[in-house]
């Protein structure tokens, strides 16, 4: 249930009293910045009631200083000038909470990574800068209202889209954590691309065995509902409470659509093989030029008893593998893709997949001559380099072509070989070589699957490489810019089975944490609308990319019915695109308002902290429409 209530965000109306605490960080800061001078200057700010410096603010005694001042000195806003907020913002928010103060009435000013450590030769300049930065922090915090986490009720169920190894691993991991799962697979069977692989590197297990094992685990879970031949055609709601419409492709009518309620969604739609352009290294012009997946499939079908390698009805005595086909493309050298861009990313798996295939050829058909033409060899994973060494020891010849001169292939008619490859070889100081071969195998890269309809359902962010884009590979892996939607496997970029399954486990754990309790608390940094300032112009709506995050509603204001913008905080991502479009500044991102930024700039340019204006209290703040999503149905 979604309910909207109206709350004044600073009910107390107490005069604003800021506590400023300048940390020495054991000398990391105080060796450069005169922390005492900073604290002394800030004491002159009209809203600052307490201003101190201390050896380690993050230590227990440091935090106790703040807590004591809140309790004994009636401090109701706190600024700590210390290291980066990425390290200790949460530490200090928790200290405020322990002291009974709203944890968001806090501002963390970075005077270490962005001041003392980068201005070592200018102590005076660094100190002056610190004063301005802390003053800006004070100006921000005096305009800060109490904020409350957004509470959202959760559905203990997850929809996993895509039944490759990543989707299946995620489903098993989620079910193992007690969550219900609907696994939606477009194809007629589970397994994805791995089902097409014979032996897989680096374990040498059979792809079919891996898929069978995972399929058995999926089938053995009563909590997993598998929907084969199905797609997601509707996606409403928000984190904790998505409504997902699943349609079987065999059923044309909407009547049989299945509505699944889920707290989170894991996308695991995988990748497609790059299809070379007509004429790319002779592809499409000669039957002797084929892709690596096609060659692997031919090898798989070739009976173990067969002693010679056959292709196109002729026996193959020499085969050349060309790396980086459709990957690491260069503007001006390679033809652009349909969207006008080249695939400049590395497909990561093809180097090892190629060398792994070369090893299979060498062990099954030792008389076949093998040539490997590459820009670089990137066998980055554990055990992958061994394939390169073994292939080399078993006689494969390696040629390294320049980035801007990919090898060419010319078919011959009636000759002993199917054609000739021409390449320049950096390893022999740029010599131009002609290599007669019977077969050319193009190590085609990975491209994203066409999931445009799924992307459109929720405007999912797509990177420059056209794969789904995680928020940050280190800080927030497998998360996408929409809360509650997670990524698993090769839908977010080229990766091997091991990495795809690791990403799937990460996504499952993140979803399980999200849905562990009956309600979840989301950060309150989402758009808020000041109902009194809003004039209903709807300009903000045009800026919002997130369906359902901003809508218009009729509200009662001073006895009259008025049309105003309303935010659904669970759908809003807090990007602020709407903020800039609002002429009366009625929309802001909570905790990051334009008034706050204006005041910060005033403090940065001010010559004297003491001359900054005194801010009375925030009780006069206009009521803000603040939608709260309450838990449970």
């Amino acid at each position: 249930m979604t309910e909207t209530n109206t709350s004044a965000l600073n009910p107390s109306g107490d005069p604003i009293r800021v506590g400023v605490y300048v940390c020495h960080c054991g000398g990391n800061i105080s060796d450069i910045i005169d922390t005492k001078a900073v604290a002394a200057e800030l004491a002159g700010h009209p809203n600052v009631a307490v201003s101190n410096d201390y050896m380690f603010m993050c230590s227990d005694p440091g935090q106790a200083l703040i807590i004591d001042d809140i309790k004994a000195n009636h401090i109701n806003r706190v600024v700590v000038a210390a290291c980066s907020p990425t390290l200790h913002e949460l530490t200090f928010r928790k200290a405020l909470h322990r002291a009974g103060l709203n944890p968001y009435l806090f501002e963390h000013v970075n005077i270490r990574e962005q001041a003392s450590w980068v201005h070592k030769g200018d102590h005076e300049g660094a100190t002056r800068k610190a004063v301005r930065l802390v003053a800006a922090g004070v100006e921000k915090v005096v305009r800060q209202d109490e904020l409350f986490p957004i509470k959202v009720g959760v559905e203990p169920h997850v929809v996993v889209v895509g039944g490759g190894v990543a989707g299946m691993s995620a489903a098993v991991a989620l079910a193992g954590r007690g969550l219900g799962v609907t696994l939606v697979e477009k194809g007629v069977a589970l397994g994805g691309r791995v089902a097409d692989l014979d032996r897989v590197y680096p374990t040498e297990e059979r792809g079919a065995d891996l898929v069978q094992d995972l399929t058995r685990q999926v089938g053995g879970h009563s909590r997993i509902d598998v929907r084969l031949g199905s797609e997601v055609v509707g996606l409403d709601g928000h984190v904790g409470k998505f409504a997902v419409t699943v349609r079987a492709s065999s059923v044309a009518s909407e009547d049989q659509d299945r509505l699944v309620r889920a707290g989170a969604i894991v996308i695991a739609t995988g990748f497609d093989h790059y299809r070379p352009a007509q004429g790319e290294h002779g592809f499409g012009e000669s039957p002797a030029v084929i892709t690596l997946p096609d060659f692997q499939s031919a090898l798989r079908q070739c009976p173990a008893s067969q002693t010679s390698l056959q292709a196109n009805g002729r026996s193959v005595r020499s085969v050349a593998f060309i790396h980086c086909v459709g990957s690491r493309q260069i503007d001006g050298v390679h033809a652009p893709q349909a969207d006008g861009k080249v695939n400049d990313y590395c497909s990561r798996t093809c180097c090892t997949a190629t060398l792994h295939t070369i090893r299979q050829v060498q062990s099954r058909f030792p008389d076949v001559d093998v040539y490997d033409l590459h820009k670089d060899i990137r066998t980055y994973g554990r055990g992958h380099e061994a394939y390169y060494e073994e292939a080399s020891r078993a006689g494969a010849l390696f040629f390294r072509f320049p980035d801007d001169e990919p090898p060419t292939f010319a078919a011959s008619t009636g000759g002993k070989c199917a054609g000739t490859i021409t390449t320049r070889d950096i390893l022999t100081w740029g010599e131009e070589l002609e290599i007669p071969v019977d077969l050319v195998v193009l190590a085609t890269g990975m491209v994203p699957r066409d999931i445009a309809s799924l992307i459109d359902l929720r405007k999912l962010p797509v990177g420059a490489d056209r794969f789904l884009q995680e928020v940050h590979p280190k800080l927030r892996p497998v998360e996408i810019g929409v809360a509650g939607i997670l990524l698993a496997g090769a839908c977010q970029g080229p990766m091997d089975i091991n990495e795809a399954c690791t990403a799937a486990q990460t996504a499952a754990v993140k979803a399980a944490i999200l849905l562990a309790n009956p309600t979840i608390e989301l950060d309150p940094f989402v758009a808020v609308v000041d109902g009194e300032r809003c004039d209903g112009c709807e300009k903000c709506l045009a800026e919002c990319e997130y369906k359902g995050a901003l809508t218009m509603a009729d509200l009662q204001l001073a006895g009259a019915t008025v049309r105003r913008a309303v935010v659904n905080p669970a759908m809003c991502v807090g990007c602020g695109a709407c903020v800039a479009a609002c002429p009366p500044r009625a929309v802001n991102v909570a905790g990051w308002t334009l008034d706050q930024f204006d005041a910060m700039v005033d403090a940065i340019v001010a010559e004297d902290v003491g001359a900054l204006a005194h801010t009375e209290c925030r009780a006069g703040v206009r009521h803000i429409e603040f939608a709260v999503i309450s838990g449970g149905n």
Partner: protein, 132 residues
């Protein structure tokens, strides 16, 4: 004090990319002028045109918007921001403000050299504009 250090350059950074990038510069102990003031925002798309113009009027010498570029996790935010900056440039021209005092760039979490280069270039631009 060198003339660079006397400047007030506002550096707008994103939480997900250029703010951690500025931290990386600090962790590497790379040095730059203290006339630089870094503020972090969820995304600079939130600032209206007036924010930039008002900041110049208040005494900010230069503004570098260090966005997340195509890595921006918010759908459609970067194209919107870049269009808006284009409109700010037009208004700066109208008001006789040197457009080199505003720069939109992309800085990642480990873009140390690019971060320093942007600051250096902005300082040179401002000093050149002041001398003219």
């Amino acid at each position: 004090m060198s003339p660079e250090d006397d400047l007030k350059i506002l550096i707008i950074t994103t939480m997900i990319s250029s703010y951690p990038g500025a931290n990386t510069v600090g962790q590497a102990r790379l040095q730059y002028s203290p006339g630089t003031f870094i503020v972090r925002v969820p995304d600079p798309v939130m600032f209206p045109e007036e924010f930039y113009l008002d900041s110049f009027a208040k005494g900010i010498d230069g503004i570098i918007i260090m966005s997340s570029g195509s890595d921006c996790p918010y759908e459609g935010a970067y194209p919107r921001l870049s269009k808006r900056v284009g409109r700010v440039y037009a208004r700066m021209k109208e008001q006789g403000i040197d457009t080199s005092r505003l720069k939109l760039t992309t800085i990642c979490t480990v873009c140390k050299a690019a971060f320093l280069k942007e600051i250096r270039e902005m300082q040179q631009n401002i000093l050149k504009a002041k001398a003219a």
